[in-house]
């Protein structure tokens, strides 16, 4: 017990209700359960069948984001017209379940609504040292605050609702050391894409990643969330970053953080949440941040990624690789920079925060997006939408010819009617370029907000750096 511990082990140990044995997994206590409309209805059904209640409504926070429209609607009836009967029914069911079980819901008429992984931190519900789960794989986002946060399935959503606990085997640990400064025009999105390219889409399987090093210490919270968000895209169970002054400054004064002397006490505790100097990780990987360039994916998983000016590799005859290039209608040997773009999506829990929107806006400001390109900008929450409008970002985007929307998951997974048409090429700031993710037959290239914005202007995949030096 006295031996050196990693950040993950410290948070894990604080939450063990019953320790794991060879025969049984640990019972782990959950401090914050985030829920949304897609992965909960079947869990509430189980609670009803078994006559159970929600054990800790006070540790449960509900929103709706996946199947909600990004155009303004005022009623469930309106919603059905926009997103379809089934999606509207799901949203209505969420409302009914939250009412029936006494849960706080930031519903579609709430100005605190947004993508579940955006509003947790924004409301201050996400805090260092907490265990946080959600029926959504990108729950790893919250690890940016030094929380142990991971995605669970619907059966487990039921477990947490009923018992506030989960059965868990302890994960292994992977240290990702990132030193050096990110060059101009290169963002944390490019960093995490480069990491996944290096370790592979299964490089983190069974592990919790801790991101550390000078590049991480220098990063603001929005950027850290982008990095942790895509941990799951490397197969990792979770991603974590030790909390520091950036973290505490971000959280200070937010609605759901401790107040007064409790805040002082909390910060003192949070400062202890870092890996001990001699803590041992199961694996470690190093990356030099100053060598990175803007990254773009060329295939159908996030590990198929290259520098924006690098040629697409040929995959050495691997049939899955060839299938991916065929689907993408991309040929090996050339960079993507002449590939024509139909759609640009700036949004998703990866890149829809204010600083992401600012980075995209700085590129398009005073310019027009290329003829024939549809650019959709979807803020991560209603709060971000308001903040962005207060500094005029909505007008920067609409003047450039882009669409400015209400918050939600939108084109990240195309459940709400915002989709890319079959065969169209999309440059997207989201996290998954899987076949059909953004719509049947949609071809997705993942990139940073700057690269996405530059591509919208150019009408083809573009290196954002020339656009940035022209700007200001």
């Amino acid at each position: 017990m006295a031996s050196a511990q990693t950040l993950f082990e410290k948070v894990w140990n604080e939450h063990v209700v019953v320790a794991e044995t060879a025969d049984t997994p640990a019972i782990l206590y959950i401090d914050l359960h985030l829920i949304h409309e897609v992965t909960t209805p079947q869990a509430f059904n189980v609670l009803r069948e078994k006559g159970l209640h929600v054990r800790r409504p006070d540790l449960t926070l509900a929103t709706m984001d996946h199947s909600t429209p990004t155009t303004p609607v005022t009623s469930f009836k309106d919603m059905a017209v926009v997103v379809g009967e089934n999606a509207a029914r799901q949203v209505r069911r969420m409302q009914e379940n939250c009412d029936a079980f006494g849960l706080e819901l930031l519903g579609f008429d709430s100005d605190q609504r947004g993508i579940v992984h955006v509003i947790g931190p924004e409301q201050g519900a996400t805090q260092p040292g907490k265990t946080i789960v959600c029926g959504d794989s990108h729950t790893s986002t919250h690890g940016a605050f030094g929380a142990l946060a991971f995605g669970i399935g619907t059966t487990e959503v039921g477990h947490v609702l009923a018992t506030q606990c989960l059965l868990q085997r302890k994960a292994r640990t992977l240290a990702l050391n990132i030193d050096g400064d990110l060059p101009t025009g290169v963002s944390s999105k490019d960093l995490i894409l480069a990491i996944i390219g290096q370790i592979g889409v299964d490089g983190g399987t069974g592990h919790v990643i801790e991101y550390r090093g000078s590049a991480i210490s220098a990063m603001d919270m929005d950027s850290r969330m982008t990095v942790c968000n895509m941990s799951i895209e490397a197969g990792a169970r979770a991603g974590m970053i030790a909390p520091d002054d950036h973290t505490f400054e971000y959280l200070a004064g937010r609605p759901r953080v401790p107040q007064g002397t409790d805040w002082e006490r909390a910060v003192a505790h949070w400062r202890t949440l870092k890996s001990d100097a001699d803590a041992v990780f199961d694996k470690s990987v190093s990356i030099a941040a100053d060598k990175l360039q803007p990254m773009v994916t060329f295939g159908t998983n996030p590990g198929m990624v290259i520098g924006v000016n690098d040629p697409v590799p040929d995959g050495g005859g691997d049939p899955s690789f060839r299938k991916a290039l065929d689907y993408m209608q991309i040929s090996a040997g050339k960079p993507l920079t002449n590939t024509e773009v139909d759609v640009v999506f700036v949004g998703s829990c990866t890149n829809s925060r204010l600083s992401d929107l600012q980075q995209a806006a700085a590129v398009v400001k005073g310019k027009k997006i290329a003829a024939g390109v549809r650019m959709l900008v979807v803020p991560g929450s209603q709060q971000i939408k308001k903040d962005a409008e207060a500094i005029g970002l909505d007008r920067v985007f609409t003047a450039a010819g882009a669409e400015w929307r209400e918050s939600g998951c939108s084109m990240c997974l195309g459940m709400n009617g915002d989709t890319v048409n079959s065969g169209q090429l999309s440059v997207s700031t989201s996290n998954r370029n899987f076949e059909g993710r953004q719509g049947i037959g949609a071809r997705t290239i993942l990139a940073s907000p700057m690269t996405a914005a530059a591509s919208a202007l150019a009408g083809r995949v573009a290196d954002p750096r020339p656009f940035i030096s022209q700007g200001e």
Binding site: D23, I27, V38, T39, S137, T155, D202, S422
Partner: protein, 195 residues
């Protein structure tokens, strides 16, 4: 109460692709359901059917040989991507009882176990053999955690002891958690650090 799963005897169908993600297993637009029933029709929907709803005759699941196969053999890193439990629900509803690969993504593997779909991880040589011999009959003994090939060769596969116990007994893990109610309450009270 889940049906106990102790033994699976069935033929295999092979999808050689690596990194089959949950969006391929069941596309997001079918997730607007509020039930877990009847999702088999959407399994691999956009690979099985073209935009006009016509079945692609080349896709393995559409071939007559796939009829009645209860074991899916797939390339490395099966089930990566989202946490949607709709993926194992769809596989089970379609008639699959086990999935085999060299690596199965964490959340998908966990979701599968919770629903009585057996995830089997094998070494690269075994996977290659299974891929080269689609349609063979396998005999999986869950209690022993072994998989027998038609030639009688038996291969052990790793499975968490608790998960196996729940599978073979048909135990509901929620019931197990609820039995620990007193421990949970005393943990809540004794916590030094309360968030």
């Amino acid at each position: 109460m889940m049906k106990p799963v102790t033994r699976i005897q069935s033929r295999t169908v092979v999808l050689p692709t690596t990194d089959i993600d949950t969006d391929q297993l069941i596309p997001a637009r079918f997730l607007t359901t509020t039930s877990r029933e009847g999702l088999g029709q959407f399994l691999f929907h956009d690979l099985r059917f073209d935009a006009n709803g016509n079945a692609d005759p080349d896709f393995a699941l559409n071939q007559p040989a796939a009829d009645g196969c209860g074991i899916l053999v797939a390339g490395n890193n099966l089930g990566c991507g989202s946490s949607r439990e709709h993926a194992p629900w769809a596989l089970l509803d379609y008639g699959f009882k086990a999935v085999i690969s060299t690596e199965i993504a964490d959340i998908f593997r966990n979701n599968s176990l919770k629903n009585g779909l057996l995830p089997v991880v094998v070494d690269a040589d075994t996977l290659q053999y299974l891929m080269q011999n689609p349609g063979i009959s396998l005999d999986i003994d869950v209690t022993q955690a072994t998989l027998a090939l038609p030639d009688g060769k038996t291969i052990e596969f790793p499975i968490d002891g608790f998960a196996r116990h729940c599978l073979t007994e048909g135990l509901d893990q929620l019931g197990y958690l609820l039995q620990h109610e007193t421990r949970i309450s005393s943990f809540e009270e004794a916590r030094q650090w309360k968030p």
